[in-house]
Amino acid sequence: MGDALDKIKGFWRSQVYDEENWATNAKLLRAVGLFAGSIILMRNFGDLMAI
C-alpha cells in the first residue's frame, strides 16, 4: 500500500514539478478544458446564439 502511494506521489511530482512535462500537461489541460467547457456551454446556452 505504501509502495503504491509512493509510486503515485512520484508520478505526480514528475508530471507537475518537472518543467518540460508541466508545459506539455498545461497545454493538454488547456485544450481539454476548452473542448469540454465549450460542449457544456453549447448544450446549455447555445440557444442564446440563435437569430
Binding site: 485544450a31 481539454v32 476548452l34 473542448f35 453549447m42 447555445g46 440557444d47 446564439m49 440563435a50 437569430i51
Partner: protein
C-alpha cells in the same frame, strides 16, 4: 372530468432497417465545414464560366505571401503570384476536374458511378519536382446500412475502411492502411453519434492521432462547433471552438483555438454569381497576421 393520457410509447427500432452511415473519411464533416474554411492571405480572384450545362472553365488568380517551412520559430513568407486554369465536367454519373498552375503543377480528380452502389474516385497531383507526384484510386461500396472503401495509391499505399450503422443514431467504423514504400502500417477506429440537434464524433489511429469533435445545431442558420486534435506520440494538442452563421446573403465563420489563434471567414453574396470573400487569421503567440480579400464570379 379529466381524461388520462397514456405516456407516448418509445419508438421501436428496426435493426434490419438502419440508415446508411456517412463515409468514413467524412466522419468529422460538420465540424470540418464549420471550423476549417479555406483561409488565404493576399488577393484571390476566381472566375467560373459555364460553357454548357455540364462543362465549365475556371480561371483563378492568387497574389500574396506564401509560408515556407523553416527550422526556426519565425515564419518565413515569400511573395508569390499564381494563375490557375481549370476545367470541370459534371454529369450525374461522371465528374471530372482538372487544374493546372503556372508553375507546372497539375491536379486531376475523377468521380465515376460504376453502378448504383459502387463508385470509383481517383485523384492525382503531378509536379516537375521528382518524387513529389501522387496518385490514388478509391473504390467505394455503399450497402444498406454500411459503407466500405478500398484505396490504392502510389508508393505502394493500400488502405481499406468500413463503417456500420449500429443504431439509428450511432455508427462505428475502422480502417487499416499499409504504406509499402515506408514499410509502415496503421489501424484506426471511429465513432459518430448524431441526432437532429447535435453531432459528436471521435477517431483514434495507431499513428498517434486522436480527434474529437462536437457540433451543436442551434438552428437552421446557426451551428456551434468544437474540436480537439491530440497526437499522443508527439504530445501535441490543439482545441478550437467556433461558430457558423449561414444567412441568406452571407456565410460567416469564426473560431478561436487553444494556441491563441483567432480567425474569421466571410463570404458575402453581392449579386447573383458575385461573391465577396474576406479572410483573417491572427496568431497572437507567433505574431503572425494574415488578411485576405477576394472576389468569386460565376457559380
Amino acid at each position: 372530468m379529466a381524461t388520462h393520457i397514456p405516456p407516448p410509447e418509445p419508438e421501436k427500432v428496426d435493426y434490419m432497417d438502419l440508415p446508411c452511415p456517412i463515409p468514413y473519411e467524412e466522419i468529422h464533416r460538420e465540424a470540418f465545414m464549420s471550423l476549417k474554411p479555406e483561409h488565404f492571405e493576399g488577393l484571390r480572384f476566381d472566375f467560373t464560366k459555364g460553357l454548357n450545362q455540364k462543362f465549365s472553365l475556371s480561371h483563378s488568380i492568387v497574389m500574396g505571401p506564401t509560408e515556407v517551412p523553416s527550422q526556426s520559430a519565425e515564419t518565413i513568407k515569400i511573395p508569390t503570384a499564381n494563375y490557375e486554369f481549370g476545367a470541370n465536367f459534371i454529369d450525374p454519373k461522371v465528374m471530372l476536374f482538372g487544374r493546372i498552375l503556372t508553375d507546372g503543377r497539375l491536379s486531376a480528380r475523377v468521380k465515376c458511378d460504376l453502378s448504383e452502389n459502387l463508385t470509383l474516385k481517383a485523384n492525382a497531383q503531378l509536379t516537375n519536382e521528382p518524387h513529389m507526384s501522387h496518385g490514388m484510386f478509391n473504390f467505394d461500396y455503399k450497402g444498406t446500412d454500411y459503407r466500405t472503401q478500398f484505396q490504392l495509391g502510389n508508393g505502394g499505399l493500400l488502405g481499406a475502411n468500413y463503417i456500420q450503422s449500429v443504431t439509428p443514431h450511432l455508427s462505428l467504423g475502422g480502417e487499416v492502411f499499409w504504406a509499402g514504400q515506408h514499410r509502415k502500417s496503421g489501424l484506426g477506429y471511429a465513432a459518430r453519434y448524431n441526432t437532429d440537434k447535435m453531432v459528436a464524433s471521435g477517431q483514434i489511429a495507431s499513428t498517434g492521432m486522436v480527434a474529437l469533435s462536437y457540433v451543436q445545431k442551434v438552428s437552421e442558420k446557426v451551428s456551434l462547433a468544437t474540436d480537439m486534435m491530440y497526437n499522443y506520440m508527439s504530445r501535441d494538442v490543439t482545441a478550437s471552438v467556433g461558430y457558423d452563421y449561414i444567412l441568406r446573403q452571407c456565410r460567416l465563420r469564426g473560431k478561436i483555438d487553444s494556441n491563441g489563434c483567432t480567425s474569421a471567414f466571410l463570404e458575402e453574396r453581392l449579386n447573383m454569381g458575385l461573391n465577396f470573400i474576406l479572410s483573417a487569421e491572427i496568431d497572437h503567440k507567433k505574431k503572425d497576421y494574415k488578411f485576405g480579400f477576394g472576389l468569386t464570379v460565376g457559380e
